[in-house]
Amino acid sequence: MAIECLVLGAGQEVGKSCVVVTINGKRIMFDCGMHMGYDDHRRYPDFSLISKSRDFDHSLDCVIITHFHLDHVGALPYFTEVCGYNGPIYMTYPTKALAPLMLEDFRKVLVDRRGEEEQFTSLHISQCMEKVIAVDLKQTVQVDDDLQIRAYYAGHVLGAAMFYAKVGDSAMVYTGDYNMTPDRHLGAAQIDRLELDLLITESTYATTIRDSKYAREREFLKAVHECVAGGGKVLIPTFALGRAQELCILLDDYWERMNLKVPIYFSAGLTIQANMYYKILISWTSQKVKETYATRNAFDFKHVHNFDRSLINAPGPCVLFATPGMISGGFSLEVFKQWAPCEMNLITLPGYCVAGTVGHKLMSGKPTKINLDKDTQIDVRCQIHQLSFSPHTDSKGIMDLTKFLSPRNVILVHGEKPKMVSLKERIQSELRIPCYLPANCDAVHIPSTIYVKAHASNTFIRSCLNPNFRFLKRSKEDNSDQVLRNTNPTAPLQVNDERVAEGILIMEKGKKARVLHQDDLLLMLRQKKHDVQFAYCCAAQLDDLEETRNRDDAVGLSNKCSSLQLLLKELSNYFSGVNIQDLGEHLQVESFQVSVCLKDNCPYRIIDNSQKEAATVYFCCSWSAADEKLAWEIISAMERFNLIDNLPCRNSISSIN
């Protein structure tokens, strides 16, 4: 089985986020957004790629919406009401509450102001929202028997979530938009360390690294204050929700502190009603804001009033929040036309504007004139302040999250291609994770994790759980070929445990695989264990300088122990990393045993040593197959004592070793 990731939108671009992922046979659509920059069919994702017969109920298991921005939810009413998808749709409580407001706001802009044919009606929006199942953060939702999803805090806007999806042994995370640094009204993204096959992350700021937000907030407040102090009007084009409330918290707080009386208005599109949602959903905001619920809810703005159209040209300073955010039409454009020609006024621009909007034109360079269409031209003399606090993570945040989750694969979406390419290089070189940047309508195939399942016998589990470590000292040379992942290359001591090898995996036709302990296996086979051992009686010359006086009775009984001690000393010098146990009668290394052999005719003394030297000691060795290699190393070392008995020579050998 594999994971297939089909990108329907936001592939190498920003707008109409929509990714369809198939994991182990389950198909999930993440986000269903619309592109604000297009008016034609390119506005919506190409849903026909999901199912040629347009039978979406059978080809999708669920739809997940990460947050209420239109480029993530804009196409949802169209998909459910016009295309006819009737399956489950999941979003967080705030997204379910706020998405219809955004959709309705947008619909009005399209129909009322731009006079376009409507794509979906108010009824469509409400019918669509009825199909939505609201979820809480970290709530583990069992979509069906196999598919499990879970939302994590993403911090981008109120209710924004990253979604985790798991089918069988495979799992993935789709981040949606997220922010890794806390902000004045929202916390930072938060996720558990998960075992993932795939991470699909946004990459709006794939190459940017940003500093603290507080300095930029101060700049914004200063610009606004200077403008109203000079009697100017401030236009803040925003979307109905999110940025409006964030800036409003800033201004309301500032007004309170500075004791300012200048009115702050919300335009009709952004009713104060919207603040009610924020009040109820205050527990989804930052810790500091959250705590205000008991005394005065931070979203009970004191200085904010509703705006009336007649106030556009009223004298005196004011601050106005108006939709839409990118001055692409609607009320913010209407006010912009009136206020832009006056030098005293100030227009703030959001951090990101889609190409083709007035906002985008204002951002690129310092235009003095803006052509709305071929007949209308606006003189722009007012000041322009660009808000640079965007609630997207910067490249450091993306790298941090990717490193933290360490998925097996990464797919980047929602960004600009050149920047994404450089981020991809970093992920591949620094984190060594394969990374992909599919374009719209491209699909990426990656392998998924599968485990072979087996019943494990209690004996096996118990034997594995009894602590029985082998400590290995490691020299530097050993590290070169180590795989990076699970070991710490600087650790001088490695803990090793091989009891997994005592497990036997058994496959029997028509039965589930079993893992038994090797002792269980004998019981199962009704067989007796047959030991197969190796033995060798090895001759060694213990000609040591200090030992010369004892040479004559070296083989004597009284010296049995001391020759073993000598051997121990020699072996310890040779095999510095090996743990040799001295058990009195014999020495033991793993299964290798060596003891002094006093027999004249030991059957294991294979090589006849006819010219028996007085200084020769015989050592009987035995071992089992597991330690074969080690055993032969020790034996050849022991035999070398026989050949080389002067110190300088031996030292040269050990230095070679």
């Binding site: 019943h455 494990a456 997994v500 197969v532």
Partner: protein, 767 residues
């Protein structure tokens, strides 16, 4: 940047070391409860007036819970207390996979009625000389107490679940809190030295529980001011004084069989509450919490109250669901999520709410006749549908609504007659409903009467209820989606129909006070809080009304306020699952085993057709359940599995291979993943042999490999113990000793030795 909990992949051999060390040992139980134990330990501090009392305690002491005394039984479950009603939920201890879990830690606040209430402030009681305690001294009061035939005039102590104090708090690994009421005794535990258990509760329960405990501490402070700080064991607890108590009081103080005296504790302080709440790990509904990488803990809505839950505990061998009192018809709280409890092996059913209902309630009695429920259709799906219908048959909601309507109309009647109303209900859900409905009733009868909520935590509590849509029922959530406040009390406060004051002598209250009025105020035991004061004020007004909750001995509760002309309305609300729904519910959840209260055995006769076995448990008895036979599932990484070298066994279609890799135990899973070591060549050699190599065949195999030798038989040679010896001459000298259980290969040539080893492998079974 802040990211969630980190450590995950520990090769759990190390981690399991911990649990090996923690397996319950038989000495976990406190040795005894004689009064000489450590003074700092609140569970052992009190002095027992007469050791004789202890004999009741000791025979039933939970030593039997030690696992080794129940070798075939797992997990042992002990019901410490079956509690009583909504305010005092049951309390259990269960051992799962070597971890000891405490389920709920409640406080029996109804026991407060044995104490005499003091008045918070004498100021507004000028007319009532009789009860002006500030002038009277305590001796005087004792006289009056005698007249009142009983109540204890002292700073109250609080009654924790019977038997909880007999358990060593440091032996508890995990505490699961299922409702706010199940949390009230938690500070007693958390302040104990050596207590280090992980505590889980839902976010909403924790917040509401904290508010309730803070309120309790503040209300108790009135006693503190009156009696001064208490030191040591109070006088009323001495044996002589206890003997003097009336039988009714004695029963509350000592329990029916005199065993409950050990549960009394002096109240915690607010610092203890704060400290306790900090130790609670809060969860969302259906959030996965892993304890020690072994137990998966999840909370699912029980519908009883905002934030209350049923717990599921998944251990590698058994899945357990603990069903506390759950309501199919929830008031404001999120609906009972019983689907999520499906598919567990074992259900601990601890909903005692229907206990004794039969005798009290005619209506229920009739219904219980139909309790023996018989699934008639064989098809499973159809079965489910019928079960569902039976479960969701909504007779409760209608009845509960009627009760509320009745209360509202009584309230309106009283205020119309010029009397005032005090409502001292304990269930938050009901209070919130009344707060919405009473104004509607008042409006329809054109009455303009203020509603006061007087409690130190009321303002925060009401604000809190308006920001927790995730914990509320569908209807309330709809309000969020349509942009309305979740509860109307904020509007009522703006419209000056509802006022919230912290206490009776707050200046705002004094300036706003109007009578008649409707007051919501704690405490429902009528011993603490503003209600004491207000009752004294209105007790002689026959038009006034007191709305009381069930679960209180009214005679005793109203004793200090007698004579009373005031009307009293005691109402009981459903606080659990109806008896007739219990069996369909269990059928639907399809467990293998059910632990069911012994006390309900008579009331529910499980019909023969059910698919699960039922075990009955009783208070303070340890019950073991047959060990589950399930084996542990091992997951082997597929890339590793493909590298295994398989070996076919001679007989049958069986393939076997030796495992390789590293074993990880995490999140309750056992996984074999490829290790970082390249397997050595010796790995591929069989390490285990069985059978017996025939020497002649061995020679033949060897000669095919170019190895030549001859056989020497030495029957029962005492020295070497070998049966047969093969001497190898070519290519070099070697020796093979073959006996029944052992073969020894002796050669100097490494290659030759492994060649012989290989030859033997072909003649024996090996892996």
């Amino acid at each position: 940047m802040s990211l969630g909990p980190t450590p995950v992949c520990i090769p759990l051999r190390t981690s399991h070391l911990i649990c090996v060390a923690r397996t319950p040992n038989p000495n976990r139980l406190l040795k005894s409860s004689f009064g000489n134990l450590g003074a700092e330990d609140p569970f052992t501090r009190r002095e027992f007036p007469k050791p004789a009392l202890l004999w009741h305690v000791l025979p039933s002491s939970p030593t039997a819970c030690a696992e080794d005394s129940l070798p075939a039984l797992l997990p042992p479950i002990t019901c410490l207390s079956k509690g009583s009603g909504f305010h005092f939920p049951p309390c259990h201890i269960l051992d799962v996979s070597g971890f000891r879990i405490l389920l709920d830690c409640p406080l029996d606040l109804s026991a407060l009625t044995i104490f005499y209430p003091v008045s918070p402030s004498p100021k507004m009681e000028e007319g009532e000389q009789t009860y002006d305690f500030a002038v009277n001294n305590c001796l005087d009061m004792r006289k009056r107490q005698k007249i009142l035939k009983s109540l204890i005039c002292a700073q109250p102590w609080y009654k924790t679940p019977n038997n909880l104090h007999l358990w060593d708090p440091s032996s508890i690994d995990l505490v699961l809190i299922s409702s706010t009421m199940g949390m009230l005794a938690l500070p007693f535990l958390t302040q104990t030295k050596g207590f280090s258990a992980k505590i889980y509760a839902t976010e909403a329960t924790t917040r509401l529980g904290q508010l309730m405990m803070e309120d309790l501490v503040l209300m108790h402070n009135e006693f503190h001011l009156f009696f001064g700080s208490d030191s040591g064991s109070p006088q009323w607890m001495s044996w002589e004084e206890l003997e003097l108590l009336s039988p009714a009081l004695r029963q509350v103080a000592l329990g029916k069989d005199g065993t409950e005296f050990g549960g009394w504790m002096p109240l915690y302080r607010s610092a203890d509450v704060e400290d306790c709440v900090k130790k609670v790990q809060t969860l969302k509904y259906a959030e996965e919490a892993w304890y020690n990488g072994t137990l998966l803990i999840k909370a699912f809505s029980s519908g009883l109250e905002i934030g209350s839950c049923n717990w599921t505990i998944n251990s590698p061998k058994r899945n357990i669901a603990c069903i506390s009192s759950s309501k199919f018809y929830s008031v404001n709280a999120m609906e009972f999520d019983y689907h999520a409890l499906r598919g567990n092996d074992l259900i601990l059913y601890s909903d005692f709410s229907s206990e004794g209902v039969l005798t009290n309630d005619e209506h229920d009695n009739n219904l219980s006749a139909s309790t023996t429920y018989n699934p008639s259709t064989p098809s499973a799906d159809n079965d489910d549908r019928i079960l569902k219908e039976c479960l969701l048959h909504n007779d409760e909601s209608l009845e509960e609504r009627e009760k509320l309507a009745f209360i509202c109309s009584c309230v309106v009647d009283s205020v119309t007659a010029g009397g005032s109303v005090i409502i001292t209900l304990n269930q938050l859900g009901i209070v919130l409903q009344l707060l919405e409905q009473i104004p509607v009733y008042l409006e329809s009868s054109a009455m303009k009467v203020p509603i006061y909520v007087i409690s130190s935590v009321a303002a925060e509590l009401l604000a809190f209820t308006n920001i927790i849509p995730e914990w509320l029922c569908k209807e309330r959530q709809e309000k969020l989606f349509s942009g309305e406040p979740l509860f109307s009390h904020s509007e009522l406060m703006k419209g000056e129909k509802l006022y919230v004051f912290p206490d009776v002598h707050s200046p705002e209250l004094l300036t706003n006070w109007q009578e008649p009025c409707i007051v919501f105020s704690p405490h429902w035991s009528l011993r603490l809080g503003p209600v004491v004061h207000l009752l004294r004020r209105w007790r002689e007004d026959e038009n006034s009304l007191l709305v009381l909750e069930d679960g209180l001995d009214t005679d005793m509760a109203l004793l200090p306020f007698k004579p009373m002309a005031m009307k009293v309305l005691q109402c009981s609300f459903l606080s659990g699952t109806r008896l007739q729904k219990t069996q369909p519910l269990l059928e639907m959840l399809r467990p293998k085993e059910v632990l069911f209260p012994e006390d309900l055995r008579e009331q529910i006769k499980f019909s023969g057709s059910h698919s699960f076995s039922v075990f009955y448990y009783a208070e303070n008895e340890t019950l073991g359940v047959p060990r589950s036979k399930g084996s542990v599932d091992l997951e082997i990484a597929s890339n590793l599995a493909t590298q295994f070298s398989w070996r076919k066994l001679d007989h049958d279609d069986v393939d076997i291979t030796r495992l390789e890799g590293q074993l990880f135990i995490d999140h309750g899973k056992h996984q074999v993943l490829s290790g970082n070591q390249v397997s050595s060549s010796s790995r591929k050699k069989p390490l285990l042999h069985w059978g017996f190599p025939d020497v002649e065949k061995l020679l033949a195999v060897l000669s095919r490999m170019g190895v030549k030798g001859s056989v020497e038989r030495c029957m029962s040679d005492a020295e070497s113990g070998s049966d047969e010896i093969v001497h190898i001459h070519e290519p070099s000298k070697a020796l093979i000793e073959v006996s029944a259980a052992r073969t020894v290969i002796s050669a100097r040539d490494e290659q030759l030795a492994s060649l012989i080893f290989e030859a033997i492998g072909t003649l024996t079974g090996g892996i």
